[in-house]
């Protein structure tokens, strides 16, 4: 049986990749995918800890996270599409109209 620490290690790696991706990338879609990666890293933690402690609550949380992620994906993609239609660009640094 795979020990818990492996799962947590994998999850930590995935999360770090996601966080770094959000940091260094400028393309909105890539950033978006990185956010999804972080969400799923957390999901993995929740599932594995749920199995470890024998508590089904963790898996329930995963469903909620997935639901929210789905909604967030729909809204986020819609925003990205309309930004692209308006600006012909997906560079997040260019979207700064509200800045003084």
């Amino acid at each position: 049986m795979v020990p818990l620490s492996w799962y947590l290690g994998l999850s930590a790696m995935l999360f770090t990749i996601g966080a770094v991706g959000v940091f260094i990338k400028r393309n909105a879609i890539t950033i978006f995918l990185c956010i999804e990666l972080m969400l799923n890293a957390v999901n993995l933690t929740l599932v594995s800890l749920s199995g470890f402690f024998g508590d089904v609550g963790g898996q329930l949380f995963v469903f909620i996270v997935m639901t929210v992620a789905a909604a967030e994906a729909a809204v986020g993609l819609a925003i990205i599409i309309s930004i692209f239609r308006n600006r012909e660009s997906l560079n997040v640094d260019e979207v700064d109209t509200l800045k003084l």
């Binding site: 940091f23 950033i31 997040v92 640094d93 700064d96 509200l98 800045k99 003084l100």
Partner: protein
């Protein structure tokens, strides 16, 4: 002997017109005129037949002052406060439902002819039936709150029907005026009922052992008479209740100073003027006062106020009626004047005489209004008497029936108005309720009013039916031809559906007076039957002076009283004949005699009210409420909140760099700090 009975048929009397109103209001738009007329008339006919049936069935019991209840359900029950939807038939409400349903039925029949071809035919009859429901509820209610329901209901229907021609500005203005002025009165009425509950602990009129109810009038009986003093009005006792209720009556029954709505109410169709603004609704105030007679007899100050206002209104309105050119306006002021008579009667303690005048007035005034309606239709919607004249040749039956109404209202001997008006004059003269000089003064005012009544009614008849035919030249010159009637020209007699009600009501105006023949004229001196009957529910003129008067020589007093009654009878007959004779001679010679402009302009009361009440409210609304409170304070607060948010946001936006990665960095940093805090701890 069981004093209280149950009579389940009472509910049907009020429900029949309500069902009619519901059918016509919901489905009437798709019905033909015949069917609408049939439904409207048959529901009222049903109420009328039931009223007559109950009257004759229970006649003996009613005559002994027994009461019939119809308990439907308990409407409100909070703590000790209780109001039921329950109906009461006693001799007072029996008289009222008899003439209301009878007169209303014939007015409905008349209206089927009068409203022919009108687009809102169904709407008109739905309102009329709704009015009947409200009016009968008002009269049959057995407590003040249910009476108030009917009271407001008739006000609503009055508003709807005055504004029936809602595309015309003047009709809408008149409707609003009626509603708002009535509101002032209703405010007094509502306060009066509240105070009554506070003092008496009940808003029911009488006891009902079956329901364990104690009537408010029992409380009134147990009170000592309030003193006759102005301070009693503000003492918060029985006089205050009486005065507040009377304020309600002045609104509904168009007394000084709230009468101004009634002349304008003539903007509605003529059958409405006949039914609501002459025969029934406007007498609701008199009904309420008579109903509360046991309160009033304990409040001499309120009685005095009522008598003075009644007499003043009678004289005031009669002088205005003398100078109007619009045929309906003359009748409107005449109605106000006659209502003044009724309140005068109640104010001097002769509630029976007041109700008797309500009763006879319903017949002859409905007749006169319907006659005027017939003339208006015959003249192709012309209401100005200056453009009438000589109509007797063209409208024979209308003319004959209106003559009956004219003789009745003027007090021609042995017609209905003669008996009731004479009764009021006599009771005023011999009143023991008011202190010494007042009965004579009020009698004099009432007598002068009787004279004026005879004069202005004669003027109306002469200007309309006699003299030169003034409509021909007027017709060609006036802007009248563009009203789209197409058949302008010679006046014509009205259809049968309008003439039959006129004939029936004319017979009524001539004959109904005989139910209240005064004692001295009655065969075998059997006494005034009507008064005897009505005094089973209404208190007679009992006062604090009575005890002293009830000495040994009552017989001498009785003979003395009869002598006075004979003299007054002859005097009032003479007054009526002089008035009619003078009017006949004067207006035949000078039909277009210009009355003093002060009278023609109704003493400028509307202008005074406009300057004293309407304009200050308007200006106050514009300059204070709108331009200051609304614009400055309310809008200012809303805009201020917006500006505040703008200020904060404008300051905080300096924190935003616009670089997405810097935000991410801050988020990660924050997360690390929190995690670090937990780790270190």
């Amino acid at each position: 002997m069981n004093f209280f009975h149950t009579e389940p048929l009472l509910a049907i009397i009020i429900m029949a017109p309500l069902i009619g109103a519901a059918i016509l209001g919901l489905l009437g738009k798709r019905m033909g005129e015949r069917l609408i007329g049939l439904i409207a008339c048959s529901t009222v006919a049903m109420s009328a037949i039931l009223s007559f049936y109950l009257f004759f069935k229970h006649h003996a019991e009613l005559e002994q002052g027994q009461k019939f209840y119809d308990y439907l359900f308990t409407w409100i029950s909070v703590g000790t406060f209780r109001a039921d939807a329950s109906l009461l038939l006693d001799s007072l409400s029996a008289i009222y439902i008899l003439f209301i349903t009878f007169v209303a039925f014939w007015i409905h029949v008349f209206a089927t002819g009068y409203m022919r071809g009108d687009k809102g035919y169904w709407r008109f009859f739905a309102y009329m039936n709704l009015f009947m429901f409200s009016m009968l509820t008002l009269v049959l209610a057995d407590n003040f709150l249910l009476m108030f329901v009917g009271w407001e209901g008739v006000g609503l229907c009055s508003y709807l029907l005055i504004g029936y021609y809602f595309t015309k500005d003047f009709a809408n203005d008149a409707a609003k005026k009626a509603f708002i002025v009535n509101r002032i009165g209703d405010f007094g009425f509502a306060l009066g009922v509240m105070l009554l509950f506070l003092k008496a602990g009940s808003i029911f009129y009488f006891d009902d052992p079956a329901r364990g109810i104690h009537g408010a009038f029992n409380w009134a009986f147990s009170q000592v008479h309030d003193p006759l003093a102005l301070s009693a009005i503000f003492a918060g006792g029985i006089t205050t209740i009486a005065v507040l209720l009377f304020v309600g009556a002045t609104g509904k029954s168009a007394q000084l100073p709230l009468y101004v709505w009634l002349p304008d109410a003539m903007a509605g169709p003529t059958p409405v003027s006949a039914l609501i603004h002459a025969a029934t609704m406007v007498t609701a105030g008199v009904y309420m006062v008579a109903r509360a007679s046991s309160i009033y007899t304990h409040a001499p100050t309120a009685m005095m106020i009522m008598a003075i206002i009644g007499a003043a209104t009678a004289l005031f309105a009669a002088t205005i009626g003398l100078a109007q050119w619009d045929i309906k306006k003359v009748l409107a002021y005449s109605t106000i004047s006659q209502l003044g008579y009724m309140f005068l009667a109640c104010g001097v303690g002769a509630f029976g005489a007041g109700i008797f005048h309500v009763f006879t007035h319903a017949f002859f005034k409905a007749l006169l209004f319907l006659g005027a309606g017939s003339v208006i239709i015959g003249m192709h919607h012309e209401q100005d008497m200056r453009r009438m004249g000589g109509l007797k040749k063209y409208m024979r039956i209308t003319c004959l029936t209106m003559l009956a109404g004219w003789l009745a209202i003027s007090g021609f001997p042995l017609l209905s108005g003669f008996f009731s008006k004479d009764e009021i004059l006599f009771k005023t003269f011999t009143s023991v309720v008011l202190p010494a000089p007042w009965p004579r003064i009020l009698w004099f005012i009432a007598a002068v009013t009787a004279l004026l009544t005879a004069v202005y009614m004669t003027r109306l008849i002469v200007l309309t039916f006699w003299g030169d035919e003034r409509f021909m030249d007027a017709d060609s010159a006036s802007s009248h031809s563009n009203e789209g009637h197409g058949h302008a020209g010679k006046p014509h007699e009205s259809p049968k559906s309008m003439l039959i009600p006129l004939i029936v009501l004319a017979a009524g105006a001539i004959l109904v007076g005989f139910v209240g023949v005064p004692e001295i004229l009655s065969v075998g001196q059997t006494g005034n039957y009507f008064e005897h009957f009505i005094h089973q529910s209404v208190e007679g003129p009992t006062t604090q002076f009575d005890a002293a008067d009830a000495g040994g020589d009552w017989y001498r007093q009785f003979i003395e009283e009869q002598r006075v009654e004979w003299i007054l009878l002859i005097v009032s007959t003479a007054i009526a004949l002089i008035g009619m004779g003078f009017g006949w001679v004067w207006f035949k010679r000078k039909p277009l005699w210009e009355p003093p402009s002060l009278l023609e302009h109704k003493y400028y009361v509307d202008e005074v009210y406009d300057a004293a009440v309407v304009q200050p409210i308007k200006q106050g609304s514009i300059n204070v409420l709108w331009k200051f409170i609304d614009v400055r304070i309310i809008d200012g607060a809303v805009n201020g909140a917006g500006q505040l948010a703008d200020l904060f946001g404008g300051t905080l936006r300096y924190l935003q760099s616009g670089l997405a990665r810097s935000y991410v960095a801050l988020v990660v940093l924050g997360a690390l700090l929190i995690i670090g805090y937990f780790v270190i701890r």
